[in-house]
């Protein structure tokens, strides 16, 4: 008899960010949903434990509007405020300070945008803001270009993770530079979370198979025809991709390698 197969549920280490452990490697955004009820259902279906939000002025004239936190319970989810829409380090730092005063902890998604059309990061401004925020005790998760040197510098500064983009925010183009991503992962001394550009489940699986530690997805779920089903698909893809990475894929080869034995063929 062959040896009993190993447990298919491979033991995985948790995703650790700023000393906190998470079982889910999928982080989801809350933008672009039809309403808060749909947001809540999609977040639930995704299995995510970390949920991003934006910081904006309260509508003074229309106070009938409901609050997002009534639907995404901050005692159940790690809320990750972002600095979306900030074009300078100063704006981003100001936004983070306000976000921290909301009382949901000190973990922030830092993004300093450099260009309106591509929403690519302003790398020097991101480094500047990261330096200041780390000094102020924030757990900083920076959105950054898929640039290995920028990622190394952010880790040196003391960021809890680096979050290189797969493709422009909301583009759904998938991983545009898998080789840079591989370099970033190989060199990383902090978790690598692919942030932005994922279009569908196979993109998420591909990113996880390449060995990244997590993925942040918003548009691909929120703008899908059925966001709840896509949230479920992304959950499964992230788990499948992670398990395939841990299992260790076969080498690619140009020619065939028979699966069936050559011995015992009838002649």
């Amino acid at each position: 008899m062959a040896a009993a197969p190993k447990d298919s549920n491979m033991d995985d280490t948790p995703l650790v960010l700023g000393g906190r452990s998470f079982k889910s490697r999928l982080i989801v955004g809350t933008g672009k949903y039809r309403d808060f009820a749909e947001t809540r259902a999609a977040v639930e279906a995704s299995g995510a434990e970390i949920v991003t939000v934006a910081v904006r002025r309260v509508n003074i004239t229309d106070r009938t509007k409901e609050n997002l936190l009534e639907y995404v319970d901050p005692t159940r989810y790690q809320i990750l405020p972002n600095t979306a829409g900030c074009y300078t380090a100063e704006e981003a730092i100001r936004t983070c300070r306000l976000a921290r005063e909301m009382g949901v902890g000190n973990m922030v998604k830092l993004e300093v945008i450099g260009d309106q059309q591509t929403l690519f990061p302003d790398v020097p401004a991101t480094l500047e803001a990261a330096r200041a925020l780390v000094k102020e005790g924030f757990i900083v998760l920076p959105y950054i270009t898929d640039d290995p040197v920028a990622c190394l510098k952010l880790a040196e500064i003391g960021c809890a993770a680096v979050m290189p983009l797969a493709a422009p925010i909301g583009s759904g183009l998938g991983i545009r530079n898998p080789y840079n991503l591989r370099i970033i992962i190989e060199q990383a001394k902090v978790p690598v979370i692919v942030d932005a550009g994922v279009g569908t489940a196979s993109d998420a699986a591909e990113a996880m198979e390449s060995g990244c530690d997590g993925i942040l997805i918003n548009s691909a779920i929120a703008c899908a025809k059925n966001p709840i089903a896509m949230a479920t698909a992304m959950k499964m893809a992230v788990e499948a991709g992670r398990m395939a990475y841990l299992a260790g894929r076969i080498e690619r080869r140009l020619y065939a390698s028979a699966s069936s034995p050559l011995d015992g063929l009838i002649r």
Binding site: G31, V53, A54, I60, N67, A84, M102, A196
Partner: protein
């Protein structure tokens, strides 16, 4: 600020405010829950514990933010 002004700038818009008003009173008047907002007074974040002590006066610039959907 011209003397006799009776306005603050609240979230970028003029907002009428007669004399000094405790921040906590203003927040209540605006129908907001302190646990769901963060406040910046003249570019400085106001800790929640100070909402009762801090006084808002005409000419002040106040930002009140909350969380909205985002990625």
């Amino acid at each position: 600020m011209a003397s006799g002004a009776r306005e603050i700038i609240l979230n970028g818009e003029p907002y009428r405010l007669d004399g000094h008003t405790p921040l906590a009173v203003l927040i209540e008047r605006l129908g907001m829950k302190p646990t769901r907002i963060a406040v910046e007074l003249n570019h400085r974040v106001v800790p929640k514990a100070e909402y009762g002590r801090v006084s808002i006066a005409p000419g002040d610039r106040l930002e009140i933010v909350n969380f909205v959907g985002g990625g």
